[in-house]
Subunit: 480 residues, 2 copies
């Protein structure tokens, strides 16, 4: 028990220092380790396994919606990056530049891709000639590099893993439908598999992706009341096609410019689940992406039959498709309890001599520390059912947190007062659509526009800032 206490004491509490609590967890749950390159991290086996689970589910969803995986080079020649004006302005200040190959200076600098629109466009120009070549629905799983000043594991790092979808269509209408479809895929993924409720909406003009006509996003509210952009989907119109000379022969035999989209989610989602579900004992993982869904801890393991029965139970759960781990190491049961709490394993199964006698075991759910005694008969069904309950409970808890921290406001004073009184959260307020007001709200209240939600409400007729007629309801918040 001394060991158990020690581990728990090692984490800063959320209340005391949320940022420190977060970095304590990523280290102590063995998700990452720092390296000698600032802002670049090692994703350790337990962290990478979460990402692999996310990948597997998302990749299935992408393939089901007709997308194919490809792989573009990691380097972009400077001249290629410069072809689309807004795009290069947005990304050039934060790219890493390769200037030498071996001992030779390159004729042209290459940047390490911060995103791959320009590479896809060069490729499209090579392979698209006729309406029969459209649409192309592509995706790739790679890492990208953005030379950020301040970095935090998963949330903002210089190199991060992501998927980037890139599609090209004959008509604007088709491309818009695709942009919305993929935002919906992301929302479904977050809500169903990460138990994380999200707000779907459109970014304001000032917050669009560099080169996009419009950017859609899903926004989630973290435990500390800060907002996190969890995924984005961009509609490009034919701007990139014009800049890169991509044209196709239509059915009517005319040369036309096609329309494009791109969309992405990143390892940031691991940060999102830490800050949505975690607590002062460590990680709490949603079952769908947990590397270990249930851990078996034998009690009085030295007693006859305990290890054998534990192994039998483990093997039964494994064949039912449950990701189970039997910890038969020599560490104390108390140490193990704390260890798997820290690692956020959804269910702990305790199995001791008396349990075996009674053909039962004790199951403890991580998120609420609730103990239940259940029969070993049909255990895999019981556990599968329990995992679903855990998922719903996590979702509901996160939703409650968001609802409790979402405030409707109709004046600047009200925004300031409510944030002062209740702490950070989402503020819903009306907006006239002018960038000046958007900036002023941020400057005076501290919350920036997160998105114009698809689900609009009419909170008042006038802009919360200038009092002129309102165009949209906006979610405002402090962002990660």
């Amino acid at each position: 028990m001394a060991q158990q206490k020690k581990m728990v004491e090692d984490i800063t509490s959320m209340e005391e220092d949320f940022a420190k609590w977060y970095t304590d967890i990523v280290k102590k749950a063995e998700l990452i380790e720092y390296t000698s390159v600032k802002g670049c991290m090692v994703i350790r086996p337990y962290g990478y396994a979460i990402w692999e689970n996310m990948q597997r589910i998302l990749d299935g969803m992408f393939k089901e919606t007709g997308h194919e995986n490809v792989c573009m080079p990691m380097f972009i020649p400077e001249s290629l990056l410069q072809k689309e004006k807004d795009h290069v302005e947005g990304f050039a200040p934060e790219v890493a530049w390769v200037t030498h190959g071996g001992s030779e200076k390159l004729e042209e600098r290459l940047c390490v891709r911060p995103t791959s629109e320009t590479l896809f466009c060069e490729h499209y120009a090579n392979i698209i000639h006729s309406h029969r070549d459209l649409p192309k629905l592509y995706n790739q799983w790679v890492s990208v590099v953005r030379w950020e000043k301040t970095t935090r594991p998963f949330l903002r790092s210089r190199e991060f893993l992501w998927q980037e979808g890139h599609t090209i269509h004959a008509t604007a209408e088709e491309a818009v439908i695709e942009t919305e479809k993929m935002l919906n895929v992301y929302a479904t993924f977050c809500e169903k598999y990460l138990a994380m409720p999200v707000i779907k909406g459109k970014k304001t003009e000032s917050d669009k992706f560099a080169g996009a006509v419009s950017t859609y996003a899903i926004e989630a509210l973290m435990h500390d009341g800060k907002a996190l952009q969890a995924g984005t989907s961009h509609y490009f119109g034919d701007g990139f096609a014009k800049a890169f000379g991509i044209q196709y022969q239509s059915k009517e035999n005319k040369l036309e410019y096609p329309h494009q989209t791109s969309w992405g989610v990143t390892t940031r989602l691991i940060g999102a689940i830490i800050m949505t579900h975690g607590d002062d004992n460590g990680l709490v993982l949603p079952p769908a992406v947990a590397p270990i869904q249930a851990v078996i801890v034998p009690i009085a393991a030295h007693k006859e039959g305990v290890l054998e029965k534990s192994a039998e139970v483990a093997s039964g759960l494994k064949s039912a498709g449950i990701r189970v781990k039997l910890d038969d190491s020599n560490n104390s049961a108390g140490w193990k309890f704390a260890e798997y709490e820290m690692k956020g394993v959804p269910i702990r199964i305790e199995l001791g001599p008396r349990d075996i006698e009674n053909n039962q075991c004790v199951i403890v759910t991580r998120h609420n520390n609730e103990k239940t005694v259940v029969s070993l008969e049909n255990l895999s069904e019981t556990i599968s059912q329990k995992l679903e309950e855990v998922n719903s409970a996590l979702y509901n808890k996160a939703l409650e947190n968001r609802e409790r921290r979402t405030y409707s406001c109709t004046s600047m004073d009200e925004i300031k007062a409510i944030l002062e009184e209740k702490g950070d959260g989402f503020v819903k307020a009306m907006w006239c659509g002018e960038e000046e007001c958007e900036d002023k709200v941020k400057e005076l209240t501290g919350v920036g526009s997160r998105c114009i939600p698809f689900d609009q409400e009419n909170l008042s007729e006038t802009c919360v800032c200038c009092g002129k007629p309102a165009k949209h309801m906006v979610y405002w918040g402090k962002a990660y």
Copy 2:
């Protein structure tokens, strides 16, 4: 039929120009497309799907042997790369250097990883303290960069995809066992799933990986008689541990240096299967990694019931786990035949009105163009069985080619004469173990040492070059 002829005419024949035949296939089977960065390519959906199949199988084999996936950064600081003397000497001349982040010059140059030993070592030094922390059995799926002068798609490119396994063990013995185990995993993978026979052996001193104590390799013989190194596994001893200060407390409470290995295979394997199985009509893919295992081509598709029946057959095969494609496009049957021949789809299923009447279909196997009429009853079993037969036939054909082109020689003159008479191939000949003789064989006969095979034969008592006592039988060949 005009279209069919046109496509076939488009490929250079192997006899005429093997190198041109190869590049024709990678382009026309839509495996890759070139980009504006020399030596970097787009891997297109059909090529990437082959790699995904390889990944899935290999990843399963790695996990079964106890390995965990991780992800290291893509950048290595210059000072870190320099820590192990032999390693930096081998790799520094061919790395890409990042010198700027945004508009700022970096304090220290970073290279884009050519391989990740140094990053793993830095990480090991952080996380390994006690014998209880050992072994670590890691792997990662990433891309690496080597600034090659001459490049060819898949075979030698500046950026390529691979997996790199990295393990660290308490004892030298354990590490040697691991090195050999993973070479065996590679050999099994190539022979069982790629239908490509390989020679397992040890590299000579001059051909070792930079920093290794010993390098093992699998070598395959391509259709043109040239050798291709298909995978390598390295034993490092404790050299890296000493250079990076990695130590652990043993059970006896002493500070010890651990022992390391690394091993890798790359997208080069796609090149290997092209040059092992391909023919003048295009690709021939081994069923285990073929993106499409069977393609259904409806005959007289406008006739009533043909498309419906084709869809029904496709859906039946799909539920049996066969990767099937129904091509119901408006292209002519002849065009489709040529298209899927080019793409190397192992089995074509033809289904026309008369077939449907007789409850049968025609199946044509790609590698030998053999037609069989089979019943639609139990078709998925028939196809599964046929896919296995195809796999064996491909393996046997490749093995026969290798046997026919493997020559035992006991003198330099014999080597020259046999290569002159029969063309390139593997030469088996005895060697004294001196680098001078190794170089001289290459200089005078054109074939370099490929490996010292584990299966040794005693062809004569003396070195083929100097006549002194022989130590090893060596496979010699011209290498890709």
